[in-house]
């Protein structure tokens, strides 16, 4: 049985436990009967084994049903088959006059098997199963002349055999309906919470971006607007160029897609490096929204490290950050420069960035690799989640 949620699992366990307890109780009258001796049966030893087998099977079946949260149809059918064989045999083993008395202990367990059929099988199959049980019971007691002597008693037992499983089926269906309703309510609440969380994160992201713009572009523009600043001065030009890079990155990362935290994070990293004199050309496309924060963090960290490396070692003022996503939600980032490169033939990563970049990426479920050759630039390639890069 497929159990997906807490309310359903709980409910199925209650049903299994109820049926199991009932089945054990249905075996108890026999103990009382057996105290009076084994005189009602033609083969007492076989009867004792049958009883022990029936109890053992019941315990096994319902323990497993409790653990798994229900019974699969094949298991329910096995239970019905077992009960049919058992009631037929017990009926035949009863000496004349005892088949319809308490000595025929099989009636209780057979009613229980009917209930199992009603609860765990589809209605049509359940009706067939109950009919099989009734037939086996009647055929078990029928060859003895008692059946003609006590038709009323037989009909009464058969009626119980029909009515009790029906009642059990209705009760289980009602319980399950309630469980479904509870589950539905729980799921709606969860979805609502998730929606609110996403909304909150979007607002946070926007506030962060506004703050970033305030600290950079807005303050630069305000300073120029106030007058007295020579816009031809190198430091003013530098600052304007850096701010333009930031805006370009932000717009590239989100203008044609929904805002993504990765696009904004990368734009910010690139802006920080512009202050160190590096022109970072940013190209973003189809970046997935809703990347886990640890992935965004790891990718930003790796890009920052890679750009640091360009500043320190590559001896070039230009770097490219290219980030693309695909429909599966994975991201590929390449940080490239056309600078000095280094000999990476040992694979150790000349400046330890191999460790720093790959370690962080791998911890977040991604991977990173550095390709470089003396005099031919360096590329740091990142992938999230892990694929061969």
């Amino acid at each position: 049985m497929l159990v997906s949620s807490q309310p359903t699992l709980h409910n199925e366990r209650v049903i299994a436990l109820t049926l199991g307890a009932f089945r054990i109780v249905q075996h108890l009258p026999f103990l009382a009967v057996s105290i009076g001796g084994w005189t009602a049966y033609s083969r007492p030893a076989l009867m004792a084994w049958l009883f022990v087998g029936s109890v053992a099977w019941s315990v096994f079946l319902f323990t497993s049903a409790y653990r798994r949260g229900g019974l699969t149809p094949p298991w329910a059918l096995v239970d019905v088959g077992f009960a049919a064989v058992m009631t037929f045999t017990v009926g035949r083993l009863c000496l004349p006059g005892h088949e319809l008395a308490w000595d025929n202990w099989s009636v209780g367990p057979v009613v229980g098997a009917g209930a199992v059929a009603a609860v765990y099988l589809r209605p049509r199959v359940a009706i067939f199963a109950v009919m099989l049980l009734v037939t086996a019971y009647v055929m078990g007691v029928q060859p003895n002349e008692a059946i003609s002597a006590d038709v009323a008693q037989t009909v009464g037992n058969v009626a119980g055999l029909l009515l009790f499983p029906f009642a059990a089926g209705v009760a289980a269906a009602t319980l399950r309906r309630f469980a479904r309703q509870a589950e539905h309510a729980q799921r709606s609440e969860f979805e609502l919470r998730l929606e609110r969380e996403t909304e909150r994160r979007l607002v946070d992201e926007r506030i962060r971006q506004f703050r970033l713009l305030h600290d950079t572009v807005l303050s630069t523009l305000s300073a120029i607007a106030r007058g007295g600043l020579d816009h031809r001065a190198p430091e003013v030009q530098k600052r304007c160029a850096d701010d333009a890079d930031l805006l370009r990155g932000l717009i590239t990362g989100m203008a044609y897609d929904t805002p993504t935290s990765l696009g904004a994070a990368l734009a910010e990293v690139s802006r920080a490096h512009a202050e160190l004199g590096l022109e970072v050309r940013q190209q973003y496309d189809s970046l997935p929204d809703g990347l886990p924060p640890e992935a965004v963090e790891a990718i930003s960290h790796a890009v920052r490290e890679a750009l640091n490396n360009v500043v320190k070692h590559a001896g070039t003022p230009d770097a490219w950050v290219t980030a693309t996503g695909d429909e599966t939600g994975s991201v590929r980032v390449i940080v490239a420069d056309r600078g000095a490169g280094f000999d990476n033939s040992s694979g150790s990563g000349g400046f330890g960035i191999n460790q720093s970049i790959r370690g962080r990426m791998r911890a977040a479920g991604g991977d990173g690799r550095i390709h470089t050759w003396e005099g031919q630039g360096t590329e740091v390639e990142l992938a999230w989640p892990t694929v061969n890069v």
């Binding site: 160029a241 333009a244 890079d245 370009r248 717009i251 590239t252 203008a255 044609y256 022109e279 050309r281 190209q283 496309d285 230009d318 770097a319 490219w320 290219t322 390449i334 490239a336 420069d337 056309r338 390709h371 050759w373 031919q376 630039g377 590329e379």
Partner: protein, 219 residues
């Protein structure tokens, strides 16, 4: 270089007057570039009808003209168009390339790269900046030039800013082969803008193609 020390005459169409002025001054740092015309709209430019080598056309003019229409109007008059913009608006960049623009560069501080692109376009070639390569890798139009898998691979790595040597190393081919693949990509896109009509045209095209191959910058 195919163009040697020839001065390339450049026209600038940009709605930002400050930027147009700045551009002329910026170009003065180089002896091989000269701004000979500078207007705020395509209509104004065509009215003047200046004689020049390359038109630098701002992608999004503020007169609400459609970028691809601007390119078509200029190409119809025989101008070679190089698109410049601050933001690589992929959709419009591809539309202008389809309309016959011979390249795209981003507005930034890299004068050498711009000069290289102008030189490519002036010699009848296609200016394939990494930015444009990136846009082309995202080109999903049904009528786009068909590239071989290897050409796409080379274009993709080139788009991420790598040198041609690095691209070749990554793909596992010789640098010369990578250069040829990229030249073929350029050719396929350049052909979009200049359909060949006659045998004479084809001969010219072939000659231009040789120039184009030779004229490719080293990286």
């Amino acid at each position: 270089m195919a163009n040697g020390e020839r001065v390339m005459r450049v026209g600038v169409i940009d709605d930002d007057a400050m930027l147009r002025e700045g551009m002329a001054e910026w170009f003065s740092a180089r002896s091989d570039l000269r701004v000979v015309a500078s207007t705020g709209s395509v209509g104004e430019f065509l009215g003047e009808g200046p004689e020049l080598d390359v038109v630098l056309l701002d992608l999004n003019l503020r007169d609400f003209s459609v970028p691809a229409d601007n390119v078509r109007r200029l190409c119809a008059k025989g101008y070679k168009v190089l698109i410049v913009s601050t933001i690589p608006d992929a959709e419009h960049v591809i539309a202008t390339i389809a309309a016959g623009a011979q390249g795209y560069v981003i507005k930034n501080r890299d004068l050498a790269a711009l000069a290289g692109a102008i030189s490519d376009v002036a010699s009848g070639g296609f200016a394939l900046s990494p930015e444009l390569a990136f846009v082309l890798t995202r080109d999903a139009r049904s009528e786009r030039p068909s590239l071989t898998p290897r050409e796409r691979e080379v274009l993709g790595f080139y788009a991420s800013g790598m040198t041609l040597e690095a691209v070749a190393r990554r793909v596992g081919i010789a640098p010369g082969t990578a250069r040829t693949h990229l030249a073929r990509v350029k050719q396929k896109y350049a052909d979009v803008g200049r359909p060949a009509y006659t045998k004479l045209d084809l001969a010219d095209r072939h000659r231009e193609d040789r120039l184009d191959l030779d004229g490719l910058p080293p990286s």
